[in-house]
Symmetry: D2
Subunit: 400 residues, 4 copies
């Protein structure tokens, strides 16, 4: 029998804070009640803050982030539209596949897993697209499979410098509320996220940020859609209602998680993710292991994908961690299966939790046959965390 | 400030039993863990029992019942296919609209709200369809807006008697696990339901029962689909996994609610719904009011839609119940707004709760101007419930 | 198998509001942490408001109200002290028994069950007590067994008019936070309550309000005590700590329930209890049944003890309600067993809940053989509640 | 604002397992219902198993372990009785103080903090007690303040070898369900524990195991008692009821925690405590620090009290851990304040949690000025845990 806490270090779903969990433990309520908007209307405003947009529109779809991907595409594009996408990991690859299934003409740039969004190549193709055939450019801000964070702002610049008005789609599923994301400043047209990552909730909400330009496009887009229809949402959302029964428990949780983010401060949330991730990376480095991400500028502050030595099967690391030490890490996906394991370090997290992750990973690597000094990775992270803590003003101890 | 329990008598979301609520209050877990199937695999089997199918396939989509409608259509039909549908209430009407949006050629039979599925008219049209142009027939087993339960078995007979092999779609959102539903016996090809009605869970799961014939159809159907693709689900579900992050909390809850249904016995669940509904109807009758349902054979055991006298605004009844007595009833939808209010009586319910509903409705009707004797409706229901209780063997008192 | 809500109408433990229940669902915490006082210090202040005292001291003992009775006695009296008590129900009787066990010389006034505190007789004895032998006078403000509320203010007057300085003890277990109680105005020296009644929490806290006079007495009182020692509590409570591990979950719940009481307003809480109780009594009267309380001035607004006709066994009423209708009422205690059942109507309650209680009681009485018109009691209560609601300004609908 | 989990490594209250927490989240219920015993009767049997007694009687008092101490004394001893006690830490000292307050004639053996129960000295005094003046011998099985586990079996031998029939009292608050405890084999007469330690529940229950001999003594013992009266409990407990409102939520939790202990197996629970504790001690040793316990045979498997170097203030360690790393350790109590901090390692715990504790303690010691190699303590523990895991058969992964 398993005893003690289960330690969850997958890149989503992430740990739900106690106060959020409390908030969700409510009985069912009438989603057509006169005062239902008191629960929901603030969520749109709060989510806009998290996306750093004042002009955009937020929608919450019951479903997963994948559903929100589909909503973004089917509401704003037309069958056969050409779109520009890169494939450099499991999730960017799945997005390409969805676009193809939905009938888009996808111009795919294939890259090694570990690469980021190919900004220069995108720029070249946008420049070459004299007739504006490309209707949308897709960027996976954080490729969860490889731990690679891409430069969305640079893609915006590539569009602008080529006077190209393709829509800019961003997959922000594992970046929003954790990495720096600026919808208005970067003129993102459609950003997709889910409830179960930086927003620290269970899965169940696909969330979209939609620019005015994308909203306008949705009025004329001819792809078939029904469940994900923007117009239905817009009409009902105006008063805080939904076109079909929404998951009210998640809304109660979201209200609390948005309040947490606001209380901590979005900049500090992002800085915390960086501080914690850097400690994890220092640990990994002390083990003598390397990341899948090709270059340090691509390192993701929400997930690290770690290559194990060739003679070791990464699946053993996962198995040992799970069976012996009650700890879940992310597996290597697709071509990385067996070669990589991933540590998710996003959401409601602190230094001690990252050290737990490193402690267990270290033992699991050790038992799986990796030559390393037990304590070395943890020690490197501790040194970083201790130094960072020394810089911070003493926390004001206050109950939430 | 509101005090005391909130009394929820809408036709969904329904009251979540305490044990189900407990079961859902769990931390996040790894949906790719080696043992994840221990949670999920039993759910497919349990749900098949509830649908009374041994040959069908069950799928759980993160989303609402509306999403499951879309999944059913896009996976089994082709653009431009002719389908036969009736429109006799809000939800049958929305299904028609969805079918049209998704590009089907919908042959609509329009009926007064309060009518049931027009079996004879369906039979006539199926007989006339010599070339088998009609690819699917849609039945709303329980029209939630009007409290009308239709005869699915009769539609099956109409198909059989005309040697017609159109697919049989059933909207079972507010009937499955509450009214008698027999997927195999009635050869239903696609049945749609959601988590938040007879399954006594929060909203968030769109659930499908799919016959072998429908599954075969899905292998060739050419409608565009991605999020709702059966093939992705099938492949992952085989081992208990999902193509995208599923709402694990709901799975924990579903496990418990399926266990409750099994423990009570599906036949007894259905009998209980009938017993409780009959009490509510006797109360309504004692008020001198009538139901929207045109005929007593159409009365739904999950929801009663009650006409108020012409000089009274049903919205006042709702408002008084909600503001003064902390009680939610369903409103009259579409053309019934102001003329009708609805009492949902499905899911985890007992006699005392139905009497609560009647007590409050009676006061609210009285205050809204309906001439009635206070206590009369409650008394009629009490007489029925007391008589029924007298027939039952004494309950064996046992903790769950 | 039982389905639907369990309906709880016993005079404690009472129904816990959802928000209080949420608040208690927290992980364990360090009860010696530097910031622990942020949780606890406000509770003392909040509880003082509920007791309407500014000069008194509040203590929370892990235990039941019975424990708090003992704390009150052992900290302020000396072995062999003479005290004046009345015995007119189960709980006043148990208090007498405790005082005797603890070595006090109890002057008992025995009265029929259904009588209130005998103010005139107390006055007579106090007047006769020339040497101030009586060190304390005990009043059960609400005798839970009989549904009798006594006049504490009158006992204070009896003391004052006789220039008697005995300590005034009040059992407020089922009255505090529900009935009018004024510690400072009535110069109550020791008031005892528990968490599981008007405070709407689970059992587990024995709560004391202690006057300055009683606190002074505790410095010299020589009864043996250890666990319940005031001095230990006083010392630790000053900074929000406790001499032994306190039940922190209950503190989180208490914080929320005190906030609820403050938000509703203590006067309105008391008025609501009266309004709801009056409806219940009108229902009882419509059944042709009478209360145990001897006179209408003694009727308790927190619990009604109802006499059933001689030919009916009240235990059948309880059994039918519990087994057939999932509803708990209070039983007749001691000599009232089989003759009486009790409806608790205190704590987090509303009109619809009281109607539920009456509906079920009515059916249970009917089935147990009481001649009554089904619906009659409910109708009488509805008339009262509807009339009262008509008087109130429309509630402002606001989420808590 | 604090983010991430709060890490609790105090020697109680301990972490509550998720399944236990779930079990406690229930609405209030009728503690006089006919079927209430279905909840409670199994608890007595389960608790007897944990105490390894078949002949003893278990009682649950609403209150803390301190209350149960008082119950044990007042029910079985007489005013002025001579008892033999040792004082070698905060909690053994408080027990002495309680015995004195309650009027016992306490023969105290004072020892340095860090010593265990002085078995030889006890034997000497028992031998000298020719007239059997000593009515009871008290043993603190686990002195929580010093991390010292004493030898109860040896005290039993000392009694037997001297043909002394004094009652044997054991404080098992921080040992029961964690360390080896054998009530019948060691002929313990009164063992006291609480809900918030090895039983993995919130505080709120004081629990007693009572031998037949002690029960017989209680029939004649003349100390004043009321709330803690055995006879009241015995009478009501026979059918699963209680003399006053019990904390039913804790009973639901206890049922689940006893089931967990049974499922894991009590021997394995004890072995796990040893395995985890040994890892913590190896970490401490790698830091070059020593324990308060005087000798390795006294090391407690539930709590380690760690001496910091003279130039460091242990309060800084606690403060840094709490403020910077959201982690609670136990403080040095009484004379150990500032010199010692404690790591609680009991209850629902696993390897990863112990490594979290060591990681944070290491950083906190480092920042407080202790010279140590970061990672060294963690590494020593990892080596132990990894080696132990290698010995175990692979866990069968099974959902609870």
């Amino acid at each position: 029998m398993r005893t003690g806490q289960t330690h969850l270090f997958i890149p989503g779903p992430t740990n739900v804070p106690e106060t959020v969990r409390q908030a969700m433990n409510v009985p069912m309520q009438d989603m057509r009640a006169a005062d239902f908007g008191e629960l929901t209307l603030g969520l749109f405003a709060g989510m806009k803050s998290v996306l750093r947009t004042t002009t955009g529109t937020v929608m919450f779809f019951p479903g997963s982030g994948t559903g929100a991907w589909e909503a973004a595409i089917t509401n704003t594009l037309n069958p056969g539209d050409k779109v520009l996408m890169a494939r450099h990991g499991q999730f960017s690859g799945l997005w390409v596949e969805m676009a193809q299934r939905l009938g888009l003409d996808v111009e795919v740039v294939d890259l090694p897993w570990g690469a980021g969004t190919p900004v220069k190549e995108f720029a070249r193709r946008l420049a070459a697209d004299r007739d504006d055939k490309i209707k949308a450019v897709f960027v996976t801000q954080n490729e969860t499979a490889t731990g690679v964070a891409s430069n969305v702002a640079a893609v915006r610049r590539a569009l602008d410098e080529n006077f190209h008005d393709a829509l800019l789609f961003v997959d922000g599923v594992s970046s929003v509320a954790s990495l720096d994301f600026r919808m208005d400043e970067w003129e993102v047209d459609l950003v997709v996220t889910g409830s179960q990552k930086g927003l620290m909730l269970p899965a169940g909400l696909g969330i979209l940020g939609i620019s005015e330009k994308a909203l306008e496009a949705s009025r004329h887009a001819t792809m078939r859609r029904a469940y994900f229809e923007f117009a239905d949402m817009l009409k009902m959302n105006a008063d805080g209602y939904f076109p079909y029964t929404p998951p009210t428990q998640l809304f109660h949780g979201l209200r609390r998680s948005l309040a947490r983010i606001e209380q901590e401060g979005l900049d500090k949330v992002i800085a915390r993710h960086h501080r914690l991730a850097e400690g994890v990376r220092r640990g990994i480095s002390a083990w003598g292991l390397s990341l899948v991400a090709e270059h340090h500028t691509l390192y993701s502050d929400t997930v690290s994908a770690i290559r194990v030595p060739a003679e070791v099967d990464a699946r053993d690391v996962l198995r040992i961690a799970y069976e012996d030490f009650n700890t879940s890490f992310g597996s290597g996906l697709g071509p990385l299966a067996g070669k990589v394991f991933r540590i998710g370090h996003l959401g409601d997290l602190n230094e001690a939790m990252c050290l737990t992750a490193l402690s267990v990973a270290e033992m699991a690597l050790y038992r799986a046959g990796v030559k390393l000094q037990l304590g070395a990775g943890v020690g490197a992270a501790q040194a970083w965390y201790a130094a960072q803590a020394a810089k911070r003003p003493m926390l004001q101890v206050a109950a939430e």
